[in-house]
Symmetry: C2
């Protein structure tokens, strides 16, 4: 198999969890055998859970060794430990393709670079270096141990994948999310499929602030929680010139949540992972603020109000089908 194909599989796997790995980056990993055959493809799914490399090495070990005892393990430290004790050099001719430099520090989970050094594959191909100074150094650590390290394969694509992480490492990541039909319309009833709405709930569960327009609150009387995934309810900033709201609207009565009403988006200060959900008005208000845009597109037509009337150009970072809808990650240019 071509190295690009292996790395693209890792990237695609990672994008499936984009937006829900906070405060960690979305990362993917493919493990190939000595002749380039693909043994495993995996992604990091949630902070605190195993990193992409660990899931992929677990799967590859199980396949190569036939040892099914590793299969029930889901705790990162437990998988690290099992692999360390049982690998028996089984990865010595393998190549790992990782979208991000393996972490060298011991955070919520043990260091991937130390594990990989011990398992000692022949080669590690890294799409993008770690922009986090605390975690960087993984590549050098592997090279010093005699593992071949190649850098920069599909780096631009990996940089897109890493964009949210880079933003919240610096200060803050703001994603503007909207739902539209194929004709750009946003009105006339529910637009998105259940799968799209569940994905947004998973993002709400992971973000620390949800920003929404005052009109949406008045008209839709939303709860703005993450009930579809059993998740937490983020703080809410209602962007509105007036602070007169019917306080029986469900979003106000969620326990443990802070609700702010403000006519200034500067009030997102102090929050690092911000999800803005909105229509045409919020799109305009967040034009410069948003680090990237996320569109859920229903393959239908029939509304009358477009999500924007202005001229915009985006770069398509990633596309995938999600339930019956289309999910587009976009970078405004």
């Amino acid at each position: 198999m071509q190295p690009e194909f292996a790395m693209q599989l890792a990237l695609d796997a990672a994008w499936r969890y984009q937006g829900v790995t906070y405060p960690n980056p979305a990362v993917g990993c493919t493990v190939c055998g000595p002749r380039g055959e693909i043994l495993a493809v995996a992604a990091h799914k949630r902070a605190g859970g195993p990193h992409a490399e660990v899931w992929a090495l677990k799967e590859a070990y199980s396949l190569l060794s036939g040892d099914a005892a590793i299969e029930p393990l889901v705790d990162s430290a437990a998988i690290h430990d099992y692999l360390r004790r049982h690998h028996g050099g089984i990865f010595r001719d393998c190549t790992l393709y990782v979208t991000l430099e393996p972490c060298s520090h011991h955070g919520k989970t043990p260091s991937c670079a130390l594990l990989i050094r011990e398992l000692h594959p022949e080669k590690v191909v890294i799409a993008h270096e770690d922009p986090n100074a605390e975690a960087a150094g993984g590549a050098a650590l592997l090279e010093a141990a005699g593992i071949v390290v190649e850098r920069g394969l599909l780096r631009d694509a990996a940089a897109d994948l890493l964009l949210p992480f880079v933003c919240w490492q610096k200060e803050r990541f703001v994603v503007f999310k909207w739902a539209q039909r194929l004709d750009g319309s946003v009105d006339g009833g529910t637009v998105s499929s259940d799968a799209s709405r569940s994905y947004v709930h998973a993002m709400r569960d992971r973000c620390d602030l949800l920003v929404i327009g005052g009109n949406t609150v008045r008209e839709d009387r939303p709860t703005l929680d993450a009930r579809l995934v059993g998740g937490k309810s983020p703080d809410v900033l209602i962007y509105s010139r007036s602070d007169r709201f019917d306080r029986t609207i469900p979003l106000f009565t969620v326990e443990g949540r802070r609700v702010m009403v403000s006519d200034s988006l500067a009030d997102i200060a102090g929050y690092r992972n911000v999800l803005v959900e909105g229509g045409p008005g919020m799109f305009e208000a967040c034009r410069e603020l948003a680090d990237c845009h996320l569109a859920f597109v229903a393959p239908a037509t029939g509304g009358t109000i477009p999500f924007t009337k202005s001229d915009e150009r985006f770069r398509l970072m990633h596309t995938a089908a999600l339930g019956s809808d289309l999910m587009l990650w976009l970078k405004r240019e």
Copy 2:
């Protein structure tokens, strides 16, 4: 690796050539080794060229055997012959995942089922049975030789992939293609990227009739050839109530092409692979005629004329990035 993952890779590979394999179906194939590792993923690319199974088996053989002598071969009969003479039972523990039942007849290329029977993998997983009576029987032939055959994995997805083929086998396939921006707009200059336009030229090269509206001809003065891929120029049906056209418009002076002007789409009779390119007017005219729809979506906004003002619902059959655009294969519901 999961069987679904292997089959999905075969489906995705096949979709990359959807619309350009006529009169053959778009088909994909993944070859897995004894432990489920992925050895090769390939697609059928053009009629007369090797089938998906042959490309995938060639790649898997090269990987498993280390015999590079097969690599320069691109002729289907030559690859068949080389594999027959050199396989040495190397596939005996392998599994093939094919989106379509391997063909049992010798057409432009030798029969895949006979080749597979001789190479004798352990198992062949088939997403969709062959709807072509002339080519069917491949699965039974493999089973009779003691190869395990499993049917129906991701069959619905494989049926979508097969839709054009089923249509032109019966009588005729009509695809309606348009280019729009993310806001549904079609006006205001070139919408699509070069990559999208090249894909459309490749489809023009393979279709036998291109249908276009009279206004487009008058306003754009197009050539309607396949120059971006060095391909042939299909016959053209101009759908128009008036037959008054400036005959110096380039499309009229292409040699060897028939140009019809008609106010009836019934004049597509006799053509089996029909590409309609159009805007809002043609979309309406072809609503019932089109077997599926193909949208090239530029990630931009800013036009004023939507591709349709009517209520439509589609099923998303496939999505992929193509250059800077998005390509959507849709089935109207």
